[in-house]
């Protein structure tokens, strides 16, 4: 009957071998997992860009001119702080009058990326909110008093006055998508629903258009479209 009997030296050798084997295993495992983590590190940085919607719109409609700069900064895996800054001059033609709005605006808030990227892709489907503020002038270019059609043969338009130092503030909810089209270059398309909080109204007229808010509807709501091109200045990388 053969029994497994090891001499003490053999036992020690086996033991050392097993330990070494375990250490090797651990080392390999560590290397593999850290390599996996390396491949899903996301970029954090400052992203700046411009709005393309108004420049494109100006091409079709000379009544709207302006420039908007956009930016956002990633603060966590899902959250970004975002801001937009712009100026706009817009001519509105209504049935009985025409007016020009001219001014600048700023919007600040945050976006939440509801989309889970694979690997190290950086696309977004985001929801966000903004607080907006604008200072502007309104100029009543021309108007005709709305009277009985009986007097139409005499009707001529008269020019109106300029209302200065007006302002308005509002909140927005934003919904959009953002895709990295080239390395660190992003295209974004978003829609915003806006609600006026307060505004300084002109005398015997009304803020029917506000830069950054666009057309003001009867219940002080509005909407906007944004199409932006931006570039990410990477500052550091962080694992998800």
């Amino acid at each position: 009957m053969k029994t497994l009997q090891m001499k003490p030296q053999h036992m020690l050798r086996s033991f050392i071998k097993s330990i070494m084997f375990l250490v090797c295993l651990l080392f390999i495992n560590q290397t593999i997992s850290s390599q996996e983590q390396d491949s899903i590190k996301s970029k954090y940085g400052l992203r700046v860009g411009i709005d393309l919607f108004t420049p494109i719109a100006t091409f079709f409609d000379k009544d709207r001119k302006g420039l908007e700069l956009v930016g956002d900064y990633r603060i966590s895996n899902k959250f970004y702080v975002a801001a937009e800054l712009g100026f706009l001059e817009n001519i509105s033609e209504e049935d009985f009058f025409e007016f020009t709005t001219s001014g600048s605006y700023i919007k600040a808030g945050a976006n939440y990326n509801a989309y889970t990227n694979w690997l190290n892709m950086q696309n977004e489907i985001f929801v966000g909110a903004r607080y907006g503020f604008s200072t502007f002038n309104q100029t009543l270019n021309s108007f005709t008093i709305n009277n009985d059609a009986f007097f139409d043969p005499l009707a001529t338009s008269q020019s109106g006055e300029k209302f200065e130092n007006l302002n308005a503030q509002w909140i927005e909810f934003v919904l959009g998508i953002k895709a990295e089209v080239f390395n660190n270059l992003f295209l974004s398309f978003s829609f915003s629903g806006k609600k006026m909080i307060s505004s300084k109204e002109p005398e015997n007229f009304r803020n029917l258009f506000v830069p950054g808010f666009n057309r003001v509807f009867l219940n002080n709501s509005g909407f906007g479209l944004n199409y932006t091109l931006s570039y990410l200045i990477p500052l550091y990388k962080k694992s998800k």
């Binding site: 009985f96 005709t144 008093i145 709305n146 009277n147 009986f150 007097f151 909810f173 709501s221 909407f223």
Partner: protein, 148 residues
């Protein structure tokens, strides 16, 4: 999306715009009684439009000119009867005030501190005029009494 679903359309003008002046006709002999005017034809001096024609009414609403400080009307009574027509010229003078109403209505005109004058042509069918409201800002009530 509460905000979007409540974007109201403000494309249609439903608010009050520039009011007409409302004339009410009374009996010159019994000043508290209303007196209907037969076949009244109203023409505005300076406008080549067809006359406004009213028949069997004791109240009429006629438009006022917002591009001047006065509007002169030729009021012709019994305008369908024969060749002898009695025309009186009534001149309404006022101070114009323009008030912003909204996006689709634009501005309306109010006629303030209005005064009336009947041109004496020796054979007036209108005897006298009494102002009810010198500010013509809406069409809820008559603005002037015409006694004939």
């Amino acid at each position: 999306m509460l905000i979007f679903s409540s974007c109201e359309r403000d494309d249609i003008c439903i608010d009050d715009i520039t009011p007409h002046v409302i004339l009410r006709f009374y009996d010159a002999e019994l000043p508290t009684d209303l007196k209907v005017v037969n076949q009244l034809s109203v023409k505005v001096l300076g406008i080549d439009n067809d006359s406004l024609f009213f028949t069997g009414l004791d109240s009429i609403a006629i438009p006022v000119n917002v591009l001047a400080n006065n509007t002169a009307y030729t009021l012709t009574v019994d305008s369908n009867n024969g060749t002898i027509l009695n025309r009186d010229v009534l001149t309404l003078s006022y101070t114009l005030e323009s008030i912003f109403v909204g996006r689709s209505c634009g501005y309306k005109g109010n006629f303030l501190n209005s005064t009336y004058q009947i041109s004496d042509d020796g054979d007036n069918w209108i005897e006298s005029v009494e102002i009810i409201n010198e500010n013509i800002t809406n069409e809820t009530a008559a603005h002037v009494k015409i006694f004939h």
